[in-house]
């Protein structure tokens, strides 16, 4: 129920940072060991034999400050003048990294909750005739206190003035003798400390888990957006309000006499959907159809070259895939199928984010909707192509709905909105047991195309049948060609025009809103296609296939491959977990997420055009054949 937020940078990793600090704090409190979040260093360093509550809290404070400083210095300082997309990608990298490293370093997470001593007393007091836990009251008091302190500090002190000056105008602040670097670093430390303590304090109420705690960032960002990103008081009030509404909704839905909520809606889903509705509502209400004069960005975007030699590349890649399907063994075929599906998903990211500049973190949610919808109608006897078509159509509709805020907001705010939408879809639709089959998942019936069995499974070495591989290949090829054709035509010009400059695009007669929605439609259709293929490719489709983390990875891999073009989607697909590259390198997949987090940050800082961009650069430099692509 408690979240608040300070810095002017929209940081998706904020919840994850707090989550790590909290884990480290409890571990330190239990064992006196410091757990390092860095790969390659020893896991743990013993510091003290038996820390007290006070020393543990001080430890957490120092650790959180150090983490905030490190994240700012290593990741966001080099990206200060980068376009929003690069910063979103980098913060997703940090998010992935922290979440997965925590999972690896604290293997007992969730089980050891019992041993954790809560920081706050747990008794209950009577207030206005109802029982309220003490810790909640203290928490609310703390929120108010922290808010007041922050508000006063930022209003009255030189430091606060400097922060506001730097947030308003970097260069002006430098001229006035303020170091924006130092100011930003201090703010990052404060934000990190607040996040860490928030998570530590709410642990007895909300629990602690690498995934759900990291997702606390969604209601936090909702509150911050409500507060207009610059008022502490408004943000804290908004945060408390969201928390209370969530609790109220929960109270309603668990009551047995509540009948107006359909049974298939999961109660936790309704609870999680509240911040989403808030975010979308506020964004739509406050946004402008076109950016104002001052906010037209000049930051450079990753180049998006016109696709060339499409026919040749299609033929070569398709032939290689067919050869692979008929000569490789079962695991090789599996890897290729995974890659082909990932290529389709990456294409959806390329269209929306690479071509039109709209950051969406809901792509996998669209895929999930399509996958489960396809299974649902296939169970009712719909043939395979129709079921897939239905799934794709539904994903398109959902995608356009989620894309509606994009007609009024842009950049970071849109990323927040789509992330929120993804969480809502995950919780409401996919997480609903009657639709998704609960934990057990659902299975698609065997697919037939024109009477031919194109199912994926078979006994023994025949499993991952080439027939299904061909279907997946066909889908990937058609998707790639459609995207390439549109990109090479007037539609592509309009996409790039909207990406480059919405005001100028509108002045040239382009309906910016409709162009964006069209891109959302195509993109979510592609994501839906990927979802349907996944549904038929896995023996049981469970909700875990479509968690938000997967969407983050999809965006990450596409960005790695090169978000500006189709080649980037292909490379992203090759890099996908359990895809061709990982199966060839046969490395352990447990490091995959962590490494993709690191790679994401590195690419965002050093090579915004991804591996495909590096390949192109080398191509241009040498005037030779494409050799750089193999680098991945």
């Amino acid at each position: 129920m408690l979240t608040w937020r300070t810095s002017q940078v929209v940081n998706f990793a904020h919840g994850a940072m707090g989550m790590y600090v909290a884990f480290a704090y409890y571990e330190f409190r239990d064992s006196g060991e410091l757990v390092l979040p860095i790969l390659g260093l020893p896991d743990r360093v013993a510091l003290l034999p038996a820390p007290t509550l006070a020393t543990a809290l001080v430890f957490a404070l120092v650790l959180a400050a150090a983490l905030g400083l490190a994240v700012y210095w290593l990741v966001f300082r080099p990206l200060r003048s980068a376009p929003p997309l690069a910063r979103v990608v980098a913060s997703l990298g940090v998010y992935l990294y922290l979440q997965e490293i925590t999972r690896m370093r604290f293997p007992t997470s969730g089980a050891s909750v019992v041993t954790r001593l809560p920081v706050l007393p747990e008794g209950r007091v009577e207030l206005f005739g109802t029982g309220v836990s003490q810790n909640r009251l203290i928490l609310a008091g703390l929120v108010v206190a922290v808010t007041v302190v922050l508000a006063v500090v930022f209003q009255r002190t030189r430091f606060g003035l400097a922060t506001r000056a730097a947030a308003g105008n970097d260069k002006g602040a430098v001229l006035a003798g303020v170091s924006p670097d130092r100011v930003a670093a201090v703010n990052w430390m404060i934000a990190s400390v607040l996040a860490g303590f928030a998570v530590i304090l709410i642990e007895p109420i909300a629990g602690l888990d690498p995934t759900t705690t990291s997702l606390l960032v969604v209601p936090a960002l909702a509150a911050a957006l409500l507060g207009g990103l610059n008022s502490f008081v408004a943000t804290a009030a908004a945060g408390l309000a969201i928390g209370m509404v969530q609790s109220l909704v929960l109270g309603y839905t668990v009551r047995p006499d509540t009948t107006w909520i359909p049974d298939w809606l999961p109660t936790t889903g309704v609870q999680q959907a509240v911040p989403v509705l808030v975010v979308l509502g506020v964004l739509a209400w406050r946004g402008d159809p076109l950016p104002t004069r001052a906010t037209v960005g000049e930051a450079r975007l990753p180049a998006s070259p016109t696709p060339r030699r499409v026919g040749l590349w299609t033929a070569v890649l398709a032939a290689a895939s067919v050869a692979w399907l008929f000569t490789g063994d079962a695991s090789a075929r599996q890897a290729l199928i995974v890659t082909l599906i990932a290529v389709v998903l990456s294409l959806s990211v390329v269209v929306l984010t690479g071509y039109v500049g709209q950051i969406s973190l809901a792509q996998l949610a669209f895929a999930g909707v399509a996958g489960f919808a396809a299974i649902a109608v296939a169970d009712r006897g719909w043939p395979f192509p129709l079921a897939v078509g239905f799934g794709v159509a539904l994903a398109t509709v959902v995608g356009v709905l989620v894309g509606l805020p994009a007609t009024r907001v842009r950049g970071m705010s849109l990323a927040v909105a789509t992330m929120a939408a993804a969480v809502a879809i995950e919780a409401l639709v996919i997480g609903s047991p009657s639709l998704s089959g609960g934990i057990g998942g659902r299975s698609a019936p065997r697919p037939y195309l024109f009477g031919i069995d194109v199912g994926i499974s078979a006994r023994g070495a025949d499993n991952f049948r080439p027939a299904f591989g061909l279907v997946a290949l066909g889908c990937a090829v058609v998707s790639g060609l459609v995207v390439a054709n549109l990109r090479r035509n007037r539609t592509g010009l309009r996409w790039l025009a909207v990406r480059a400059n919405e005001r100028a695009a509108a002045a040239a007669g382009i309906d910016v809103g409709r162009t964006k929605l069209g891109a959302f439609a195509l993109s979510s259709a592609l994501a839906g296609l990927a979802g349907c293929l996944t549904a038929y490719a896995t023996s049981t489709l469970s909700t875990s296939s479509f968690m938000l983390i997967g969407a983050l990875v999809a965006v990450a891999l596409t960005y790695l491959g090169g978000i500006g073009g189709i080649s980037g989607a292909v490379i992203g697909g090759l890099l996908a977990q359990a895809g061709v590259v990982t199966s060839l390198s046969s490395g352990s997949s447990e490091y995959a997420f962590v490494l993709s987090g690191v790679a994401l940050v590195v690419v965002a800082i050093t090579a915004p055009e991804g591996i495909a961009g590096l390949g192109r650069a080398r191509l241009a430099a040498l005037g030779a054949r494409r050799t750089g692509e193999a680098a991945g």
Partner: protein, 271 residues
């Protein structure tokens, strides 16, 4: 092509009582202006006079607090910017705002036509080549043929101005509103631009020219309106406006003493 507005013909653009407010500040206060078919009308005024606010309101980028805008006989006060552009009322930007990712020809193609859903579907299935006469015509008129396949970043400042003008002309609009097209051009380039504007008018496009370059505005325009402190203080032939004492006091006489320019630019460019 007479120099005055004739009452019997419907004007291409008819702005009545346009008022723009930012919070409590009135940036434009009830300004009227008409542009007739094939006319070149100038709008001048010292910095801070409300020219840019007026343009944004007339072209739909900012909602006016009051007044009406009629284009080619129909009310477009509440129409979106792209709807105005498609109807044949196109604008350029002071900062050019070219699409830097696209070639010069592509920059012009973007504005040239509006594909229907059917076109888009066909495009998705098969790559087709589209010829746009308006684009070739504009490239030829502006002498951009040789650089059509280059990116705007490789061009000189003067050529970039021409690309911005070409993007506006590619759809063969009835009226083009030019926001300081001569900003940053040298005298020779500015004079060449003046000649070009006459060619544009000859092809049936009326021009509303907003600029600081007095030589250009007074030399090219049939009529000139002068804005000061959000009000229209004079309209008429260039010679009459030049002689108007109120105009001289507000603008011409004090040119060079006003320092509003730099402040304004900072506000627009920063934050």
């Amino acid at each position: 092509m007479s120099g005055t507005v004739t009452d019997d013909a419907t004007p291409v653009l008819e702005v009545r009582g346009l008022t723009v407010r930012y919070g409590g500040v009135v940036a434009v206060d009830g300004v009227d202006l008409t542009v007739g078919d094939g006319e070149i009308v100038g709008l001048i005024g010292p910095n801070g006079a409300g020219k840019t606010s007026w343009i944004d309101a007339v072209t739909g980028f900012h909602r006016p607090a009051g007044g009406s805008v009629r284009f080619a006989g129909s009310d477009v006060t509440d129409a979106s910017p792209h709807a105005r552009a498609r109807a044949g009322f196109v604008r350029t930007f002071q900062r050019l705002d070219l699409f830097e990712d696209l070639t010069v020809r592509q920059n012009l193609l973007v504005g040239a036509s509006t594909p229907t859903w059917r076109d888009t579907l066909l495009d998705a299935l098969w790559p087709r080549h589209h010829d746009e006469e308006g684009v070739d015509e504009a490239l030829a008129l502006l002498g951009l043929d040789d650089v059509a396949e280059r990116n705007p970043a490789e061009l000189s400042n003067g050529q970039r101005h021409l690309v911005a003008l070409g993007r506006a002309l590619a759809a063969r609009p009835r009226l083009v509103l030019l926001d300081e097209p001569a900003a940053g051009l040298d005298e020779a380039e500015s004079a060449a631009l003046g000649l070009l504007l006459h060619d544009v008018r000859e092809r049936g496009t009326a021009i509303l020219l907003v600029d600081h370059d007095m030589a250009l505005v007074l030399g090219v325009c049939d009529r000139v309106a002068v804005l000061d402190l959000g009000r229209c203080i004079a309209t008429g032939r260039p010679a009459d406006v030049r002689a108007n004492p109120e105009v001289v006091a507000a603008y011409l006489g004090t040119e060079g003493h006003r320092t509003g320019e730099t402040e304004r630019d900072d506000r627009e460019g920063g934050a």
